[in-house]
Subunit: 235 residues, 2 copies
């Protein structure tokens, strides 16, 4: 946790928060902060700044807050990710949030097992928890928006074309003729398939919707590795 | 497992292997392969090719092997990684091997807890197991070499300068003035610090040894994310 993320409900006055959950524990046990120490803080979806420890005891931690810094720039990206299996979803959400993605669509596809949609990891609370872990890691305050699209065809036919308009559209697909571009600055829409990839029909539909198939080389990456590798190469 | 990796001890004749460990189970339970099916195979540190299932029963799997394909090109890189904590080491080794690193040095540094060196994850067998998982994922046969350097100063003063000579030397260090370069093709030596980074003294010593400090942006990445992000951006 490189940043203590604060919520409206933490404030006990205009410039003071009281914490008594895992954040207080982290401040006491990992930072071993003393009265007067400064910690990096951020206000959910708002500015970052510093918090001075005013009180730290078995009732928790009180910080005096100052907010004076913009969070880091978001990636200019809408990421469409075929729903990974639950354990990989958790880690992928953390990476995605750490790397600065702010719009994420989790999509069904042929090679996504239907049971994955029933996993507790797909609940709004667990998704949010994992995204917050990523923000606390990166030092960022802006929670990504997440949409769940449980049906491939209506999403790709009816909603994707408009979403892609005016952006650079890409779908990561091993074996495509074109290599993934590097160092983009324009708005981008990127789709990443499940383990085993999108099926040919899906690649065709995604291409029709405006996404260009691109590859990352001969090596087959796990989804969580591919997410980080693609984002790091693209931006 | 996208490739069944074979060892000399698996061969029962010039072009036949018998498997009865996790690979046989994978062929039977995940691939659900039938007699006559073809599977992607590779011979440790040698060629890749295909294996035809000749026999599959409770005694294991027999494949007829053909080797006709070079493994994917290695990255032109020596990676120096401050020893991560054990669980992160396991995952980092898998990513490193999947991404095509062939020379890895695990290095002690101030912010590496000494106890990490005692972990079972640092044993040659566990390191090898994790590297093999990465090869099976990527479809590669060439096992990375791994060196353990448990003392920072003698390594950086006595051995690193020669290692860096003739290569592009880089050390990933958040807050450096220069951004990490992209799309390199030359031989490169890259050092990545532990959680919390190298200490200033270490960055100075690494710089004296010929490594240029570079950053990946404002966001603070976990070691395993940073490894993938750096390799994907550099090559």
């Amino acid at each position: 946790m490189n940043l203590i993320l604060l919520y409206e409900s933490d404030f006990i006055s205009e410039d003071k928060v009281r914490l008594n959950d895992y954040r207080a524990q982290h401040i006491q046990k990992v930072h071993r902060a003393n009265i007067g120490d400064q910690l990096k803080i951020g206000r959910m979806n708002q500015l970052m700044g510093s918090g001075v420890v005013l009180q730290s005891d078995d009732k928790g931690v009180v910080l005096r807050t100052t907010f004076d810094q913009q969070p880091p720039a978001p990636l200019p990206l809408t990421l469409i990710l075929a729903l990974p299996r639950p354990r990989m979803l958790a880690r992928s959400l953390q990476h995605i949030s750490t790397l600065g993605v702010k719009r994420l669509i989790l999509l069904h596809s042929q090679r996504v097992e239907k049971s994955y949609w029933m996993s507790p990891e797909v609940s709004p609370e667990k998704i949010r928890d994992n995204l917050i872990l990523g923000l606390e890691q990166a030092k960022d305050t802006v929670l990504p928006e997440v949409l769940l699209e449980t049906q491939f065809k209506p999403f790709v036919e009816d909603r994707l074309p408009e979403m892609v308009t005016g952006t650079r559209g890409l779908v990561a697909h091993p074996g495509s003729p074109d290599a993934c571009p590097r160092g983009l600055t324009e708005e981008t829409t990127l789709a990443i398939g499940p383990e085993g990839g999108f099926i040919p029909y899906e690649v065709e539909k995604l291409t029709e919707a405006g996404l260009q198939p691109v590859h990352l080389g001969e090596r087959i990456l796990r989804v969580e590795t591919a997410v980080t590798a693609l984002l790091s190469r693209l931006f």
